[in-house]
Amino acid sequence: MARFIVRRVVAMVFVLFAISVLTFFIFNVIPAGDPAVRMAGKSATPTTIHAIRRDWGFDKPVYVQYVKTMGRVFSGNLVSYINQRNVIDEIRSRIPRTFCLAIGAAILWMFVAVILGLYTAVRAGQFSDRFLTVLALIGISMPVFWVGALMAYYLGFKWEIFPNGGYVPLTDDPVDWAYHLILPWTALSILFIGVYSRLLRSNVLDTMNDDYVRTARAKGLSERQVLVRHVLRNSLIPIVTLWGLDFGAVLGGGAILTETVFDIQGVGQYAAESVSQLDVPPVLTVTLFGAFFIVFLNAIVDIVYAYLDPRIRLT
């Protein structure tokens, strides 16, 4: 097991390095025009532009620029030239919000998807299955920002059942915190519920035809015991790992649309606002950290998977 972990970590480090290089390229090399002008924003003075050029090394060779850029990002000494705020501080203060949104949605979608997936698998081919499958497909086909906007409008603004966006910190008022997050959690979950319920349904249908399920029945177990202890247990293994990856992806930046629509002021929304102002440092940093986080989480998920599936662990 230890060797597996070491191998995984080494691979991770390489990928992280490659990501940092690619992100750097995307922001500072590929685009045409003067990077210093671009970073300074619209209302920049020549002094600012000159300072930027010096601080970021735009007058030096590419690899120097890379080192300087990474240095600035990781030293925390990174400021947006458009609104003068420190990027790292900003991100740090917003992480709890993004995290709350992500974890709530992740639990919700997994819970609903398992129930739906199992139900449609057991009733495969019947009307309820086909109906729910179409619903799941509709869920996959709806853009999350559209659904979110309409939910916020109708349920929040018009009928006033839920708050119309915004965020209340957990420490201030847990009930209000949850109350504000219900709509965003739901909107964000819809897509994933669609995908995961169908995935589980497919896995369960495959597993139900496996021989060991037949053996389990031959043992005299009740159908429910067979379903839970053998079918579900085996079907869930690949899904749990995917869940880990998707949770990471949502946390790493996939919630950007939901945050924007519901005005959660999380990390994603920060990136979105920066995009609309073409403010480079925040977008660069969020992208970099997002990718980093996902790679890191991937490695953890791989290790957990090895633990769950003894075949991988012991061979």
Binding site: A218, G220, H230
Partner: protein, 350 residues
């Protein structure tokens, strides 16, 4: 006098498929006495596995239809409720499946899988169940059973896994053991060991065994009675000696004739039965073996009933319209010899 453990009467099983209705089992009747070994022999598609699995209700599904009855100690199995089936499965009738690699759950330890069956039928503590499991594994010949009880299936070889399955099947002392091609997925050398083990266990426990196989060689050592199946029907059944030394059905002749014999000079070609088994959805009218039988005559378009035609052997039944005298004319019997020398017809070298 042994009691009738199992009585199957006119069992029919059909499945609805994309291509139409498939009649997998077409009127099968047999009995099983306590402690005896009944071998059900036939090729793929003969319906032998479906018959065996239907006894445990494992073929039930939205597309399956059943007719006929199977009574186990008075309990009707074919139409049994789910609760009755659960009670019978594992505890009264247990099954050993063909492929032990896929028949055991890969992510559960083998000990847990056996304990699961024990606790499904008996109120017993975890530690007592575990003790019994270790004992069982020991009995079936798994070395270092106490350590290996916590291993996963992939940590065992094929033969060992099949022993685990046998241990699992015997864990609740069933009265009937159904073995569905238990050695087909194993090396030939392991096959003999497994069969030997099964025979010993049968002697020890007194369980009756239904051995489903396509291999007559396997059968010779262990069976008391044999039922030969073809295209969903039993075409001949009787005691071991009756089948091997005085077979009545041309299909049985073909099966026996195609066994490779060590004690005879090797033929240039192993005799085969001409033709292919019929498609399960479209069977010939009357006797299903008709298209491949060199002895076919006018009467064969009517389905021959399974009856005893050999005088003084009421248990030896077959489905062939030919009278016993006609048959003796068609082929020579050398007394005490298995595998017939045919003058013409089915057992001939092609």
């Amino acid at each position: 006098m042994s009691e009738r453990l199992l009585e199957v009467r006119d069992l029919k099983v059909s499945f609805a498929t994309e291509e139409g209705v498939v009649q997998a089992v077409d009127g099968v009747s047999f009995e099983l006495e306590a402690g005896e070994v009944l071998a059900v022999v036939g090729e793929s598609g003969s319906g032998k596995s479906v018959t065996a699995m239907t006894l445990m209700g494992l073929t039930r599904g939205p597309n399956a239809r059943f007719e006929g009855t199977a009574r186990y100690k008075g309990t009707e199995l074919v139409a049994a409720s789910d609760e009755e089936l659960q009670r019978v499965r594992g505890a009264e009738i247990a099954m050993i499946f063909q492929d032990p690699m896929t028949s055991l759950n890969p992510v559960h330890r083998i000990g847990d899988q056996i304990i699961e069956q024990i606790q499904a039928h008996e109120e017993i503590s975890d530690s007592a169940a575990r003790e019994r499991t270790v004992e069982l594994l020991d009995r079936v010949g798994i070395p270092r059973a106490r350590e290996r009880v916590d291993n996963y299936p992939f940590e065992f070889s094929g033969g060992m896994r099949q022993r685990v399955m046998i241990a699992l099947a015997l864990s609740c002392d069933p009265a009937v053991l159904i073995a569905d091609e238990p050695t087909t997925a194993l090396d030939v050398t392991i096959q003999a060991q497994i069969l030997q083990r099964m025979r010993n266990l049968r002697d020890e426990t007194g369980a009756a065994v239904i051995l489903v196989t396509h291999d007559l060689g396997v059968v010779a050592d262990i069976a008391d009675r044999i039922a030969v199946m073809y295209a969903g029907r039993i075409v001949e059944q009787g005691k071991l000696d009756e089948i091997f030394y005085d077979p009545q059905h041309p299909y049985t002749w073909g099966l026996l004739g195609s066994i490779a014999r060590v004690d005879r000079p090797r033929p240039a070609r192993l005799p085969t039965i001409a033709g292919m088994p019929p498609s399960l959805a479209h069977r010939p009218e009357g006797c299903h073996f008709r298209p491949r039988c060199p002895h076919e005559f006018a009467e064969c378009v009517k389905t021959p009933p399974l009856e005893s035609r050999v005088p003084a052997s009421p248990g030896h039944k077959d489905r062939c319209w030919l009278s016993v005298e006609d048959k003796r004319g068609e082929r020579e019997i050398v007394p005490g010899e298995i595998g017939l020398e045919d003058k013409k017809g089915v057992g001939a070298a092609v």
